[in-house]
């Protein structure tokens, strides 16, 4: 197993939901697929984070019918999209800065 990078969970969740509503399991799958299976979010972090983001007004949620049972679907709000844009800008700034420091180190 390679080394474990630390990423901003909020950024990943908001980005995953920017494409459309999804329930918790769906969000985890979406991140896994879009990262080429390089990032696997832990359920124990994701669900509390989804609740927290909803409490902060960045997400909205509702029950939708599903099989075998109904699901709680999350959708990014207007405020969530603004926060996502901020976080993406921050992340890119940090990424450029880190790249400058590590340079051409193999």
């Amino acid at each position: 197993m390679a080394s474990t990078p630390r990423v901003q969970l909020d950024l990943l969740l908001l980005a995953a939901l920017a494409d459309g509503p999804a329930h918790g399991y769906g969000v985890i799958e979406r991140v896994r697929l879009r990262s080429g299976a390089r990032l696997e979010l832990l359920e124990g972090s994701v669900y509390p984070a989804l609740h927290r983001l909803e409490a902060e007004g960045l997400l909205a949620s509702r029950w939708v019918d599903g099989t075998p049972r109904r699901r709680r679907e999350y959708e990014i709000s207007g405020r969530g999209r603004s926060r996502l844009r901020e976080r993406v800008r921050e992340w890119r700034r940090v990424a450029v800065a880190v790249e400058s420091v590590i340079g051409a180190t193999a």
Partner: protein, 280 residues
């Protein structure tokens, strides 16, 4: 380790540790159950949730904070209401009279010379009682936690106890018997708050309630002292000079306790996740 638990065992343990109540609890349990069903009860999915007590603690913490914020918002009304009472006192001392009661029908038992101060004092005495009982309830609830922050709890208790005499005096000044009549209601409020706090992370909620009660009464004490200093005569609830000095000492204790309570608050930061690089 939770990875060795079956999905049903994990859910049972999680449900035991989860202290969130009501619809929020039902929702959390249903979401976790749905996720495990969709994952086919897979051992990796159970392992991904981590320890059931730790997961429950995250939800307990999150909902206790939200509950405390709502309490803060509601209790924030008490400070200005009590402050208004002392402003009324100032008006009486300065100008010798008060405007008539704005809503006469609200207090039909009062005599004809009811005025705005009387009516306002009745309302604010009641709300002040609620704040005092909540502060006491916060102390009672917090006592069950071994990691109790004594300065904040002691300040809360001292404030609640010493704020009661001025409130009783205020009620007496208003010519009302509400303070005595409110005693059963105050006891019920204490018991109800303790029961509610039992389901949450008590220490954090208790500190928050104590902080708000301290802020509300600190405001009242500041106004009382200001009136005393400005007018050079005792405000209604600080007639003897010894009581005035006591209020100054209480104000100092409130300030110190407020600062200590603020330092005990944990700052919530955005959670970070460990992403795993799968080897190819």
């Amino acid at each position: 380790m939770s990875g060795e638990l079956s999905a049903s065992e994990f859910l049972a343990e999680f449900e035991r540790e989860l202290r969130v109540v009501g619809r929020a609890r039902s929702r959390i349990l249903e979401e976790i159950r749905t996720h495990l069903d969709e994952a086919g009860g897979d051992a990796d999915a159970v392992a991904g949730f981590g320890s059931a007590p730790l997961l429950a603690a995250r939800f307990n913490d999150l909902h206790a904070t939200a509950s405390a914020r709502r309490v803060m918002r509601d209790l924030a009304l008490i400070g200005p209401a009590l402050f208004a009472t002392y402003v009324m006192s100032f008006v009486v001392v300065r100008f010798g009279e008060l405007p008539p009661a704005p809503v006469r029908r609200l207090t039909p038992r009062l005599t004809e010379d009811v005025n705005a101060f009387t009516q306002l004092a009745t309302v604010t005495t009641s709300t002040g009682f609620v704040a005092a009982t909540l502060a006491l309830a916060a102390l009672v609830a917090a006592l069950g936690q071994p990691a109790l922050r004594l300065p904040a709890a002691l300040g809360s208790a001292a404030l609640a106890v010493t704020a009661l005499p001025p409130l009783l005096a205020l009620g007496y000044l208003a010519g009302r018997d509400e303070p005595r009549l409110l005693a059963p209601a105050a006891l019920a409020a204490i018991l109800a708050t303790v029961v509610c706090l039992r389901g949450q992370e008590r220490r954090k909620t208790a500190v928050t309630l104590a902080l708000l009660a301290i802020a509300a009464f600190g405001l009242v004490i500041c106004a009382s002292v200001a009136i005393t200093v400005i007018n050079g005569i005792p405000a209604p609830t600080t007639a003897p000079s010894a009581v005035r000095y006591f209020h100054l000492a209480l104000l100092a204790a409130c300030t110190v306790t407020l600062a200590r309570a603020y330092r005990t608050r944990r700052v919530h930061k955005p959670a970070e996740v460990s992403g795993q690089l799968a080897s190819r």
